[in-house]
Amino acid sequence: MSPQPTPKGAGALRAEDPTLEDLAAGPKNRAGGLAGWLDDRTSVAKPTSYLLKKVFPDHWSFMLGEIAMFSLVILLITGTFLTFWFVPSAGEVIYNGSYVPLKGIPMSEAFRSTVDISFDVRGGLIMRQIHHWAALLFTVSITVHMFRVFFTGAFRKPREINWVIGTILSLLAINEGFTGYSLPDDLLSGTGLRAAEGFIQSVPVIGSYMAFFVFGGAFPGQAIIPRLFTVHVLLLPALIIGLFTAHIVLVAVHKHTQYPGPGRTNDNVVGFPFMPVYLAKAGGFFFMIFGITTLMAALVTINPIWLYGPYSPSPVTAGSQPDWYMGFADGALRLFPGFFEFNIFGHPLSLNVFIPSLIVMPLLYTIAGAYPFIESWVTGDRREHHLLDRPRNAPTRTGLGMMAISFYLILFFAAGNDLIAIKLGLSINAITQTLRVALFVVPPLAYWITKRICMSLQRRDHDLVLHGRESGRVVRTAEGRFFEVHEPLPEDQRWTLVQHERTTPVALAPTVDAHGIPRKSTRRERLRAKVSGFYFADGVQPVTPTELAAAHHDGSAREAIEADQEPVGQEPRAVQWVGQLHGGAEERPETDAYASHDDGGDPGPTLEP
């Protein structure tokens, strides 16, 4: 391959191709035919060109939300297929299909139709398995997308509403998942529903009434499967699609955030236009997600309900786990000690069930949803932010995020305490007790460690900017000292490391007002100043040009050598290097035995001819 001297670009025209001017004059460029017909009636031309010209920035982490969006589409497609054969009924039937081990066994119509989809409907199993895998992918990608948005500070003004919508979507998604996997009425999911009935019963005062309303009478009853079906295919999808639409419209209104870098500012968005680049990339990505989900569904069995058997209240299998996204709630139930059941006025108050099953999930989501408002109060920052934070540049936020994730993960692993015990041959009691302690010990530790790591990374950035990158080239000076050449960062790279803002905590307003009249600061103000101090404590500020200039004057061995060289009047040295010398004696503190001690008598480094 021999590069031609002038890059023409992959889209360069051949001699016979029509130019843009030709096209503009030709019939193709006029919106005629169907497009013209449509525009005559809807004036759709303007929004079309606006949307197609919209610029989206490129980054792998922006694809996490796309994965969620595309798996939602896959869920809608495959879910619609499944409704054609699934029978949402608890009516009892005797199985007589082609799966031999279940022949003659009484089961609900819901279970039989699910087995039929798996064995007798052509291509039914692949649709079912794509649906289930896509559901897992949907919830995973929502969660990881949420992490990305949190750690980069993308929830800041003006995107707080979209963050709240996102947390609601996440909550709806896991409940959509729960109602979905409960539909087949198999032994595993039926046991989950049985537990759900127990959760509802634990509500103080009205628990048993609520349980009877939800289940249409005693558990399991005939009503729950059709009701779950309506919730799963109508109610929750409608809410999810509605909120998702709002979510994506707001993304378009706000324009996408971007990572900091050369040329990227808070006032622009740098990337590629939707037409054609993102149409191809995002459209192609949809097909990739669909393809990978389908391959998983082809090769990895998921939720083999025919092995679990139909639901019956008395048998149970060891290792009963919910789908992963319900794991944290199940783990909370497993960790919550039984002594939280109290007796008040002769009535049991089962906080050991009520809190972990019905309070923890909404509480965690409320805290998550409220975070942007808490943070903006603490930082006093009311400006719009379109440039993302590098997580290290917001150490406290990143630490809090890791704290929340570690809390979540401990609950999640607690839901597998029996599996961990079996696989690792440990005592389940010891695991549970350890996790109970860990739930309170690990999150603060995670906060502290994360914050320290962030600050170390910030200091490393600092060092890189001030002293440049180690080039790996070691140079020996004339008198035998060794230095490693440090190359200053190119301006592009340096900008990414210094672009963030200096941070200062919110200070208490002066206690004497403009007219010299003393006022007491309110408790609210003092609290805010305190929390803000905590938030911004130990901040590592970005390098300023002054600091960089000072570093060059202080630590540059090159300048020392050159200065010494001139009076000697030697020929220019044969060895040329750019950058600075670091790590040598010049940089050692005065107290160091290896430091260079210039005491007048020392002639300094000289080069031998």
Binding site: G9, A195, D267, G338, S350, W495, R502
Partner: protein, 362 residues
């Protein structure tokens, strides 16, 4: 790209904050400090475009074109394979697949061909975008979300004028009756929903199918159990006699499930437990007092019953008291005895509600 424009820190509507982050002068004014050094570095602007090989070399562009076309071609072939396999492969064919084992051939071929066909479209389109479509980044300007003051005033004026035009403020009769009507109209919907969703529980949660004299039947065979069949250390899953004839089989089973355990009489620590059993054979409700899972895992050596859902552990030797886990109450015991033919029968129904706690349970 725009290097100027209003700095983001100039929101005029925020004079109250006691302090704030320093403004970002990189996008507007460059603050000078002593010595002529700017306070911050300046944004160097977009880096130069690095041409791809397809930009420089016609042959590379052709190669990329062929690669994309090949991927789309593979997709078409895979779709054809799907269509053929759909009709050609029998639903019930099982085939050994390395790494998977016996697997449904139809599912594997249909899924793999569909997956490959989708995946190749996706990879092809992305490869096309990355190699041949323009890769020069463009910048679009942003604007503050806040509407102009004029637009805000217009909106307020419109709403106020509309409100005035409706005369809602001047005609309190309409205001209050409208409020009342709107406040009430949701009630019928709520009442219908809550009133018709389900019956009231009454005593349903407190009673089970067990009656005095009912035989203990093996679950699911529904055969009676002779005391002599219950060897030391054995465990039986038990249902009451006649429960399969009940109109609400599953609902009754969900409460009546019992586990029958035979342990050395000397190991039983509680006199009541010994009295309610027969020679060390005791029956306990199998419905966990935590959230109602069947307590199915029994360990002979320690006499512990473990719930597989949330690992509540009950000590059968000590009247099924909770020794670990999230449950609070012991499992209720079913008093049993032996009838004239030597079969185990219930000596009394459960004397307390089984299963998870609820408010009315005393």
């Amino acid at each position: 790209m725009s290097e100027h424009g209003t700095g983001p820190g100039e929101n005029a509507n925020d004079p109250g904050a006691a302090a704030r982050l320093e403004q970002n002068p990189g996008q507007g004014q460059v603050a000078e400090v002593a010595g002529g050094m700017p306070e911050r570095f300046t944004n160097p602007g977009l880096p130069p475009h690095v041409p791809r090989s397809a930009d420089l070399d016609e042959a590379a562009a052709h190669r990329a074109e062929r690669q994309v076309a090949t991927l789309f071609g593979i997709s078409m072939v895979a779709t054809v394979i799907f269509l053929v396999a759909y009709f050609a492969i029998d639903q019930q064919t099982y085939q050994f697949v390395p790494g998977i084992g016996q697997a449904n051939l139809s599912n594997i071929v249909l899924g793999t061909s569909l997956g490959v066909s989708l995946l190749c479209i996706g990879i092809g389109a992305i490869h096309w975008a990355k190699t041949l479509m323009p890769d020069i980044e463009v910048a679009e300007d942003r604007h503050l979300q806040r509407s102009s003051d004029q637009a805000r005033q217009d909106a307020v004026a419109t709403i106020t004028a509309g409100g005035n035009a409706s005369q809602l403020g001047r005609r309190p009769l309409i205001k209050y009756t409208l409020g009342g009507a709107l406040g009430l109209f949701a009630l019928p919907l709520l009442v219908q929903l809550t009133g018709s969703l389900g019956p009231l529980p009454h005593a349903d949660l407190a009673q089970t199918f067990w009656r005095r004299g009912m035989r203990l039947m093996r679950d699911p065979e529904m055969t009676p159990i002779k005391l002599s069949d219950v060897t030391l250390g054995s465990v039986f899953h038990v249902m009451p006699e006649g429960i399969d004839k009940s109109p609400d089989v599953l609902e009754e089973k969900a409460k009546a499930a019992v586990i029958l355990i035979s342990l050395p009489e000397a190991a039983i620590k509680v006199p009541k437990e010994r009295d309610w059993g027969v020679g060390g054979v005791v029956a306990y409700s199998k419905i966990c007092t935590h959230v109602g899972c069947p307590v199915g895992l029994y360990e002979h050596r320690t006499h512990h019953l473990l719930c597989p859902c949330h690992q509540s552990t009950f000590d059968v030797a000590n009247d099924a008291a909770v020794i670990f886990g999230p449950a609070h109450r012991p499992l209720p015991q079913l008093k049993i005895t032996v009838d004239s033919e030597g079969y185990l029968i219930a000596a009394a129904p459960f004397l307390q509600p089984v299963g998870p706690s609820y408010w009315e349970r005393s």
